[in-house]
Symmetry: C2
C-alpha cells in the first residue's frame, strides 16, 4: 500500500497548482484507501507477480475520488462526514474540473498496465457509476422509490467500483474464470454491504447518541433503505412527516432527531443492518473457491470490518 | 460519418432516461462533428481498412461533449452560442453526471478498438484538457494573463483533442512516425486556429454588426487573445474600462459594444485573425509529408474552412 500511496501522490501532480492543492485535500492525506486495498490484497491472493496492481489500485482510488468531487457539487452538502467539502473551499468549478483530471489520470494509469481487459472492466464500471448517480438524482425526494430501485442504484453507484477493484486482480494475474467470478462477486457484495452501512450510519446507526456527522442524506432528501423500509409500515402521520421533510424539503432543527427515532422504532435501521450483514457474509462466502490462506482470511476480515463499523 | 453518427446515437443510450434526453440535446441532433470528421478523414488518408476509426471518432465526440456539459456548469453562461445550455434545462447536477457518463462511454468505445496506443493518446489528451480548463479557471478575471499563458491554455483545453483526434488515425493504421507526427501537428495547429477564431467570433469577428450570440466570454470575464492584445496598447482610460468589466465584473448593457469597438480600433481582433490564419496554414503545410491526393486536399480545405468562419 505504500507503493500505491506514492503512486497516488505522484500522479495527482500537475503544473497547474490548483490541481494538487485540491487533490491533496481529498485524496492526498490519509483516507481509508479501502478500494485500492482490495485490489492489492486480491492481487496477492491471486499470486500476482508484476506491479500493474499498484497502478490499477491507484486508478481505482482516482475514479473514486473523482466521483466524490462531483458528488460534492451534486449533493450541495455543507459538510461531508463532518469535513468541509472541496467545492466549498475551491468552488464548484474547480471540483468539477479536478474531478475530470483525476478521472483522466486514472485512465492514464490503466493504459500503463497494458491490460486491455482491466481497462474494459474499469471503464465499464465508470459508465455504470455515472448511470447510478443519475438514477439517484432522478429519485431524489421521491418517496415512491422502491427497495428494488434503491438496490439497483447502490449496485451501480457504489458496488460496481468495488466489484471492478477486485475483479481486475485475477484478470492481470491470468487466473481462471471461477476465481475471477468469485472475486467480482466478493467485491460486489462487499460494496452493497458498505453502502447499506453508510446509509444506516447517516442516521447514527444503532448507537443511542447522534454524532455530528449524521444527517447528510436526510438534509439532501436522499432516499435510502432505512427510509424506504420505515415508510412501508409508517402511519399516516409519519408518512406526512416524511413527505414534508423529503418531498417538500421543509425541515426544522428537531426533524432529524424525529427521523432517527422513527427509523429505530420501526426497525428499519436494524433491518438495513441485517441486510448489510447478509451481503457481507455472501462476500466472504464467495471466496471459498480459493483454498484457505492468510490472504483469503484478510479479505474475509475486510468484509466483516465493513459491517463492524456499525454496532 | 453516417456510421459514426449511428454509433454516437447508439452509445449514448441508457436505461436511465435522463441520460439519452440530455445527451440528445447536446450531441444527438446535428452538431458540426468537426473532430470526428478529422479522425475519419485522417484514417482514410492513412488508407486504414478496419472500422476502429468509427469508434475512435465517436469517442472523440463523446469526450468533447462531456467537456461541453461540464463547461456549461463552470461558465455559468445563460446562453451558449445562442442556445440554452443543458444545465439550465436539466440542472447542473445532471450536466455533471451525464458528462461523466459520456466520458466513461468514450473509454468503453476505445477499449473496443483494442488499440492501447490510441487509448494512451486519448487518455493523455483528456488529462491535458482538464489541466487547461483549470488553468483557464485560475486565470479568470486576471488582466495580467500573458499571451504565452493564453496559448498554453488553448493548446491544452482545445488543441490537444484536435491533435489526438488526428494522431490516432495513423496509429491504428500502423503508419510510420513521420506521418503520425504530421497528423498530430496538423490537428494541433488546426485546434489553435479554431480556438482563436472562436475567441474572435465571440466579439463579432470582423463583421460590422453584432449577432446575438456574441459576448459569452466577455460576460464570463474570460481572458482571450483579442483582449490580451488590446490591453497591450490600451490607454489608461481603456485599461480602467477593462478592469471594471473584467476584474470587477461590473458590466452595463453598452459595455459589450464598447469592448468590440476597442478590440477593432486597436487592431486586436484583426491580429488575432492573422495568427489564426498562420496556424491554419501551418496545419495545412504539415500534411506535405503525404503525397498529393483528394483526401489530403480535403484536410487542407478543412483547415481553410476553420478560419473562413470569420471574414
Amino acid at each position: 500500500m505504500a507503493a500505491v500511496d506514492a503512486l497516488i501522490l505522484d500522479r495527482m501532480q500537475s503544473s497547474v497548482g490548483m490541481i494538487p492543492d485540491l487533490a491533496q485535500h481529498l485524496v492526498g492525506a490519509g483516507g481509508k484507501r479501502l478500494r485500492p486495498l482490495l485490489t492489492i490484497t486480491a492481487a496477492q491472493l491471486c499470486d500476482y507477480q508484476g506491479n500493474a496492481h499498484h497502478k490499477l489500485a491507484a486508478a481505482v482510488e482516482f475514479i473514486h475520488s473523482a466521483t466524490l468531487l462531483h458528488d460534492d457539487v451534486v449533493d450541495e452538502s455543507a459538510l461531508r462526514r463532518g469535513k468541509k467539502p472541496a467545492n466549498l473551499i475551491w468552488g464548484n468549478s474547480a471540483s468539477i474540473l479536478v474531478g475530470d483530471f483525476l478521472f483522466a489520470r486514472a485512465f492514464n494509469l490503466m493504459v500503463e498496465t497494458g491490460s486491455m481487459e482491466a481497462l474494459g472492466i474499469l471503464s465499464n464500471a465508470s459508465s455504470v457509476i455515472a448511470e447510478g448517480e443519475v438514477q439517484q438524482l432522478a429519485a431524489l425526494r421521491n418517496l415512491a422509490m422502491t427497495e428494488d430501485d434503491y438496490l439497483r442504484v447502490i449496485e451501480a453507484k457504489t458496488a460496481a467500483l468495488f466489484a471492478a477493484a477486485t475483479e481486475v486482480a485475477p484478470v492481470i494475474a491470468g487466473r481462471p474464470a471461477a476465481e475471477r467470478n468469485a472475486l467480482r462477486e466478493y467485491g460486489l457484495k462487499l460494496g452493497l454491504a458498505f453502502q447499506l452501512v453508510d446509509d444506516a450510519l447517516d442516521y447514527g446507526g444503532m448507537a443511542s447518541a447522534l454524532g455530528k456527522s449524521v444527517g447528510d442524506d436526510f438534509r439532501e432528501g436522499k432516499m435510502t433503505l432505512p427510509v424506504i423500509r420505515s415508510l412501508e409500515t409508517a402511519s399516516e402521520d409519519d408518512k406526512a412527516f416524511w413527505r414534508r421533510v423529503i418531498v417538500d424539503h421543509d425541515q426544522k432543527d428537531v426533524d432529524l432527531e424525529k427521523a432517527v427515532s422513527l427509523l429505530r422504532s420501526s426497525g428499519a435501521l436494524e433491518s438495513t443492518m441485517v441486510l448489510a450483514k447478509r451481503y457481507s457474509k455472501d462476500a466472504a462466502d464467495a471466496l471459498d473457491v480459493f483454498p484457505q490462506s492468510s490472504l483469503r482470511d484478510t479479505l474475509k476480515e475486510l468484509a466483516s470490518f465493513v459491517v463492524a463499523r456499525i454496532s
